[in-house]
């Protein structure tokens, strides 16, 4: 269900309006009611809705006439007729004249749900919003995957999330690649007032400037070569939900000006259009870049920065919160075990040691991939050092962070030994040292063969 969808119920009987409005509200829609045709038309001028539920029998302007007027002003509008037993003939007539469906009151609860699903599906298709629908479906799957926060720093992040989620203040999430910025953005969304609206994400680093601009703002027909059809942008799709601007540091300063205006006025125009479109969403941005530094270099606008950075959520790299590693490893193990149906019980001490002494330049995402690979290649019930040998690939340890030289040496030596199945000569060769040096290190670091 997408609460970006706005519904108007038009019926002269107040209790019908009330009952329908209550029903739709519980399903997360935005609903308005009108007691007559003229009132509905007047409201439409101020704020058009996506779907109208119209009673056929109303004093003054009846449902059929209202249908014609609505279609005239807004040809792509969905109108559903409400009839009473005995006026089905009129409902059929209404369908011929462009109503998309009808309901015969009182209706079965299931009928109403099904009808709304049909309307949303056909609407999404029409708007070429299939991508959005898929994204919504995927979001439903992944949101509750769980958020692991063992370390004190992540606990702090979590309590910030809890505090800020219910407000609608803009949030800026900063941190290296793979630390969980998008997951945090999702989590804020699901705990917010907008949780029933869409979560619309856009990766600003993945598109060229012109594409990004039309992706964000949408465009009218003929706005540029290739714009054969008008298209809704992400700003519109995010209405009543959350807009997630990933890699916000990649947005050009020119586009920052337009975005700033859209954020301040809560309205904007599509590319090539002059009609102001209203939109209301919560903004969450993320970046791995140092925005204050970019501001100094005139690569980022200060006013835009203040606008998006009302609340900052800094996310530490995994190597600075190694306490999270075991919990995250268990979390991903459980997930992949479920996916593959393999029976796995956990990690050997040695394997955990390896995970704890690695520097994780790709952060949580890298850990996730490592566990996934380990589950795939594992033959036994436990994930052991053997399954993690690829952790030792040269060049992987380029960001050593807070590890001491000794820690790095231990993990590197251990990994080489595992990789060579404790064949001292081969491991020594791989490490570029001689056997006696390696033996000394094994002794000094109390390493034992598993």
């Amino acid at each position: 269900m997408s609460s970006a969808m706005q519904i108007m119920v038009v019926d002269d009987e107040e209790n019908i309006c009330e009952a329908l409005a209550a029903w739709f509200q519980k399903d997360g829609y935005w609903v308005e009611t009108a007691g007559s045709g003229p009132e509905a038309l007047e409201r439409m001028q101020q704020k058009p809705c996506d779907v109208y539920l119209v009673d056929i029998k109303m004093p003054g302007m009846d449902g059929l006439e209202l249908l014609a007027r609505l279609k005239e002003k807004q040809p792509d509008v969905d109108v559903i007729m409400i009839t009473a037993h005995g006026s089905i003939q009129t409902a059929v007539e209404a369908m011929k004249r462009g109503a998309c469906d009808y309901l015969c009151k009182p209706f079965d609860p299931d009928q109403l749900s099904l009808l709304m699903e049909r309307v949303i599906a056909s609407k999404a298709l029409r708007d070429e919003n299939i991508a959005l629908r898929e994204q919504l479906a995927e979001q439903r799957e992944t949101i509750f995957e769980g958020f692991v926060a063992q370390s004190e720093t992540m606990q702090k992040v979590f309590s910030i999330i809890e505090d800020v989620a219910p407000s609608s203040a803009p949030v800026l999430i900063t941190g290296e690649t793979g630390v969980g910025k998008e997951l945090i953005a999702h989590t804020i969304h699901t705990h917010s007032e907008q949780s029933y609206g869409p979560f619309v994400a856009i990766n600003c680093g993945a598109l060229s400037e012109t594409l990004l601009e039309s992706e964000i703002f949408g465009h009218e027909r003929g706005a540029f070569t290739g714009a054969a059809k008008a298209r809704r942008g992400r700003l519109e799709m995010a209405n009543n939900g959350t807009l997630f601007l990933d890699e916000v540091g990649e947005i050009s300063t020119k586009m920052q000006v337009s975005l700033l205006r859209a954020l301040e006025e809560k309205k904007f125009e599509r590319l090539g259009g002059s009609r102001a479109i209203e939109t209301n969403f919560r903004l969450i941005s993320a970046t791995h870049q140092d925005l204050p530094q970019l501001i100094k270099e005139n690569q980022f606008r200060e006013d835009f920065f203040y606008r998006i950075n009302v609340i900052t959520v800094p996310v530490a790299p995994l190597r600075e919160r190694l306490e999270d590693v075991p919990a995250l490893a268990d979390h991903f193990l459980e997930r992949y075990v479920q996916e593959t149906g393999k029976r796995m019980e956990g990690f050997t001490q040695r394997a955990l040691g390896m995970l704890m002494s690695y520097s994780w330049p790709g952060n949580v995402r890298e850990l996730r991939n490592v566990i996934e690979r380990a589950v795939v290649i594992a033959r036994g019930r436990m994930i052991g050092a053997k399954e993690l040998t690829f952790l030792n690939t040269p060049g992987a340890e380029c960001q050593l962070g807070t590890l001491t030289l000794k820690e790095v040496e231990i993990s590197h030596v251990r990994a080489a030994l595992e990789a060579c199945n404790w064949n001292i000569s081969r491991a020594a060769k791989q490490l570029g040292i001689d056997r006696s040096t390696l033996n000394r290190k094994i002794k000094r670091y109390h390493m034992t063969r598993p």
Binding site: A22, K105, P109, R140, F158, E162, S195
Partner: protein, 187 residues
């Protein structure tokens, strides 16, 4: 997720109001579940008369909206009211409803009429699920699309039976949040 322990209060936050005779086991099961699953202190109030004012003659049902309005007008007792009735309910637009509730409001209503199963345990579970769902609405929670969450809308018994007696973590979080507001407002 860290959550603040909600403030303890002995005062009931919800009154169970029986409209005519209602199966006693069902009543105590509803009260127990509200208490255990939602952390909602619940009082069982003396039985009221059957709501003849809400009877819809042609349909041999009772209008849920009218009963809810009456429950709302009760000024004493707990801030939230949940009516329980054995008769069948309808609304001006729907042929029947298992229950009805004011979103973020004061009163909700559940009918036992369509919930009976061969196995009484299943019957009681259905009654508990619908009650928790409607009280969820009372606390301002909208429908949830998580397939196993109690706030998922079930328009039929089959999907209702496939739910477990749990709210998903997001709904649970929201329920806690709304309850805390309610408790703070009430003391």
């Amino acid at each position: 997720m860290h959550t603040n322990q909600s403030k303890q209060t002995d005062k009931a936050l919800l009154d169970l109001i029986l409209l005519g005779h209602v199966n006693e086991t069902a009543v105590s099961i509803v009260a127990a579940n509200l208490q255990a699953i939602m952390g909602l202190n619940t009082d069982i109030r003396p039985v009221l008369d059957k709501p003849d004012y809400a009877y819809v003659p042609g349909r041999n049902q009772f209008d849920a909206a009218k009963i809810i309005k009456t429950l709302c007008s009760i000024t004493d007792g707990a801030p939230l009211k949940l009516g329980l009735i054995e008769s069948d309910l309808c609304s001006p637009i729907l042929t029947f409803v298992y229950g009805e509730s004011q979103l973020g409001g004061k009163a909700a209503l559940v009918s036992l009429h369509r919930l009976s199963a061969e196995d009484p345990a299943v019957t009681y579970q259905r009654i508990a699920k619908i009650s928790l769902h409607e009280v969820g609405h009372l606390l301002g929670i909208k429908h949830c699309w998580k397939t196993t969450c109690l706030m998922k809308h079930s328009s039929d018994l089959e999907p209702l039976d496939s739910l477990s007696l749990y709210f998903c973590s997001a709904c649970e979080y929201e329920i806690k949040r709304h309850l805390e507001t309610l408790i703070n407002r009430d003391i």
